[in-house]
């Protein structure tokens, strides 16, 4: 495959600094702090804390504020672009939560109002806006989301899975994050003063920023995206490793990925949140990696901390530094902490910048660093990554229990839907490990431990990829309930920490000491498919294994509001875990995401059929299909399947797996584990497909299809 550098073709930013590149540049050059008292929602009592908010955004609740921020940024980037991107990757932590908070307060019981709660609704909204028919992916790794999304986009381009990707991050202010950071005593009441000796914390902020990345030769790109590095501290849910071990690993990986050495970096855009611990750990990481640090600064004293938007806003600022020749100042810092081995740039200076390292770190010890460069630094990074992953260990959890119990029930023609009892779940995990965590992270830990032990002796994996449709609902619900019931006076810091979508994957990383990439996707019914795509795109060719998880928890009050497929059948939850790497020796099964399309076009089944290899594929392989038809998606799924059967031309043994495992967003993770189990056993139980057992030959395939809003195909086959 012909390789090409990755260009930044266009960029857009909506932040407290302003709208667009020119306003952002002007604010940076003026060293303007854009932090002020909270205005966008009212407080029951107390002085509003300083925040970074976007001005002049209308306050209607539909669509939610995050969606409106993202739309503005996307329109900016795509203005004048001749064709839509073929993939989208957006980082986001809280989606439409601001609207959800208001609906919950009004005791709104109809699920209709909550349709824009999830992260899938946000990325699908942007995909519709720009008529993208390829994958529209989510990344939710707390405050590193924006940078991790751009890292995933870079590797989609390098592996040839896309040519033009719209990537970035977005978050709106919300009560959850405003009170959450306050409950952690991480907010500086005097505004944000990164790197200052008397810094006391961050200012929560909002915004959206996106880059159009492409491997196509274009005129006048803003910059080149040279490399990305991801790591996980695997140390603590919120506190960074005191020596900045994970931060250093991410920076080093990004610089190496860019084909550079630390001395080649001209400027470091720090994560620099202004919390005492973050700034110290980051400074130590830099001192360890750079013999003589280059110019560096943090812009968060000007913008505040835009959470998932931060890494994307700062990617745009990195491109501005290169294309317009400026090094931003550290607004808010008046006396740099003498504990650091460097002095930050205090005010914006004009000078040529050829290379930028931009850092983003988040809860869960989740780190992402990006390297941008000018055109002279453009280079081609070879990438020969295989599309498939080798599965060495599997586990699943359903209402009936773990894999063995689940499979036994299914073989006998029973169903395995429902919720595994809380008490039984707790009994299978060490009390100390689960003391502070609720149902979803407990499910994730159980799956990870079981999949690991199922490998029979493989080393613990170093990367974690997880898909969850709705994230940690118990923690989010409990946080908001306590906040409301106490008249906004009290909220639980533990629940806030646990409410981020990547908290379960962070717990798994701590359990397995997994210090490489740690990526959580939250794409509704397609979350596990998104996590599989992230894993097959980001896992290196050699030397690393990963825990790939898909899980959701059923919450008696919250789930029925959010998941429109929950009907008379009742609640179900659970998930699947797969230990994967690139080593096909002794693998149980190989797997790949063969197709991910969206957009409601009539031709999606034709595209899926072509992506698998057309007629020839179905002649060469005997195929068994596990079909995912979310109950709320029957109207969309019906015609998709009808067209697909028409294209295939003959009937295939098929099972609607949600009939067996229940309706929940990551049910496809259970289907994936069952598919891997069938491939390894060489047999699909007749009870699943409504007939006799089907024996699988070496060339057989099990396809796990996702239908509805998106159309997806995961392929499972013998090594």
């Amino acid at each position: 495959m012909k390789q090409s550098p990755v260009y930044v073709a266009a960029a857009g930013s909506v932040s407290p600094l302003g709208r667009g590149l020119d306003e952002t540049e002007a604010a940076l050059r003026a060293d303007r702090a854009a932090i002020g008292p909270l205005e966008i929602f009212s407080l029951l009592h107390g002085q509003p804390l300083p925040v970074g908010q976007v001005k002049d955004l209308d306050s209607s609740p539909v669509p939610p504020r995050a969606h409106r921020l993202a739309r503005e940024a996307a329109r900016m980037v795509l203005r004048g672009q001749p064709e839509p991107p073929d993939a989208i990757v957006l980082g986001c932590t809280t989606g439409g939560i601001l609207t959800t908070e208001e609906l919950l307060r009004k005791k709104e019981h109809s699920p209709d109002g909550y349709r824009s709660h999830g992260l899938l609704s946000l990325v699908e909204d942007i995909a519709n806006l720009c008529r993208c028919t390829g994958p529209a992916l989510t990344v939710s790794t707390a405050c590193s989301s924006g940078a991790v999304a751009i890292a995933l986009a870079l590797n989609l381009l390098r592996t040839g899975q896309a040519r033009r990707v719209l990537a970035g991050g977005v978050d709106s202010l919300s009560r959850l994050t405003y009170y959450g950071f306050h409950s952690l005593q991480l907010v500086d009441r005097n505004g944000c003063r990164p790197l200052d000796v008397s810094r006391q914390g961050l200012a929560v902020a909002e915004g959206a920023a996106m880059l159009l990345l492409t491997t196509e030769q274009i005129e006048q790109p803003l910059a080149c995206l040279l490399g990305a590095g991801l790591s996980c501290d695997a140390y603590h849910p919120t506190a960074p490793h005191p020596e900045g071990k994970g931060a250093r690993a991410a920076m080093q990986a990004a610089i190496e990925d860019a084909g550079l050495a630390p001395e080649d970096i001209d400027y470091i855009n720090l994560h620099g949140t202004g919390t005492p611990d973050n700034d110290l750990a980051e400074a130590r990481a830099i001192a360890a990696l750079f013999a003589s640090p280059p110019q560096l600064s943090s812009i968060k004293g000007a913008t505040g901390h835009g959470l998932a938007a931060a890494g994307a806003i700062e990617a745009v600022v990195s491109c501005l530094a290169i294309s317009r020749g400026l090094v931003p100042g550290t607004v808010g810092c008046s006396q740099p902490d003498s504990a650091f081995a460097f002095t930050p740039e205090m005010t914006c200076v004009q000078r040529p910048v050829r290379t930028v390292l931009s850092n983003s770190f988040g809860f869960g010890g989740n780190n992402g660093s990006l390297v941008f460069g000018d055109l002279a630094h453009k280079q081609v990074r070879p990438s020969s990554r295989d599309a498939w992953l080798a599965i060495h260990g599997i586990a699943c959890l359903t209402g009936k229990g773990l894999l063995q119990a689940t499979f036994a029930h299914l073989q006998e023609g029973g169903a395995a839907g429902g919720c595994f009892p809380d008490a039984d779940l707790a009994q299978r995990l060490p009390a100390r490990l689960i003391r502070r965590i609720k149902r979803l992270p407990r499910i994730a830990l159980l799956l990870a431990g079981e999949a690991q032990s199922n490998t029979e002796g493989q080393d613990a994996p170093c990367a974690v990829f997880m898909g969850t449709g709705w994230g940690a609902l118990s923690e989010t619900w409990d946080f908001l309930q306590r906040l409301e019931s106490s008249g906004e006076q009290f909220s639980s810091p533990t629940d806030f920490v646990g409410s981020v979508h990547n908290s379960p994957a962070g717990q798994v990383a701590m359990l397995l000491k997994a210090t490489a990439a740690n990526v959580t996707s939250s794409g509704g019914d397609y979350s596990f498919e998104q996590a599989l795509l992230a894993a097959q795109t980001l896992l290196p060719e050699t030397g690393q294994s990963a825990m790939l998880l898909g899980a959701d928890e059923a919450h008696a009050e919250f789930t029925p509001l959010l998941d429109r497929s929950i009907g008379a059948g009742g609640l179900a939850d659970g998930g699947g875990g797969l230990y994967v790497n690139r080593d096909r020796e002794q693998a149980k099964c190989l797997a790949r995401l063969a197709y991910y399309g969206r957009g409601g076009g009539d031709d999606l089944p034709d595209r899926l059929f072509a992506a698998l290899g057309g007629e020839g594929y179905f002649h060469r392989h005997s195929v068994v299909v596990f079909v995912g038809v979310p109950a709320a998606m029957q109207a969309e799924s019906g015609p998709q399947l009808e067209r697909l059967w028409q294209l295939i031309g003959h009937s295939l043994p098929a099972c609607r797996y949600r009939d067996f495992v229940g309706e929940f967003a990551s049910a496809s993770a259970v289907a994936a584990v069952l598919a891997a189990q069938c491939i390894e056993a060489g047999r699909v139980p007749g009870a699943l497909i409504g007939g006799a057992d089907v024996m699988l030959a070496p060339e057989s395939r099990v396809l796990v299809l996702g239908t509805g809003q998106c159309l997806t195909a995961m392929e499972f086959f013998c090594p």
């Binding site: 005593q185 100390r432 502070r436 006076q489 909220s491 639980s492 533990t494």
Partner: protein
Amino acid sequence: MNELIEELKTKLIKLLDLSSLTPAQLDAQARLVGGELGIDSIDVLEMAVMVEQDYGVVINSQEVGEKVFASVASLAAYIESNRAGGAA
């Protein structure tokens, strides 16, 4: 004072999900934070919220927090001397 210590033990076991312990097993003098129970900075914040909500005593600096949450006994003493109508 002893009554408050017993009350706090029960509350902390529930709040921090130390379900393997009985109040009698939780030593009022033993190191609470950073000790054998695995109690860390997040738990300190959680306890600070409880102390404010249940006793009206605010603990919002790390330095004060470290002293106050050294043990159940030190926490009880701090609440006792700082709550409305207390010894202060």
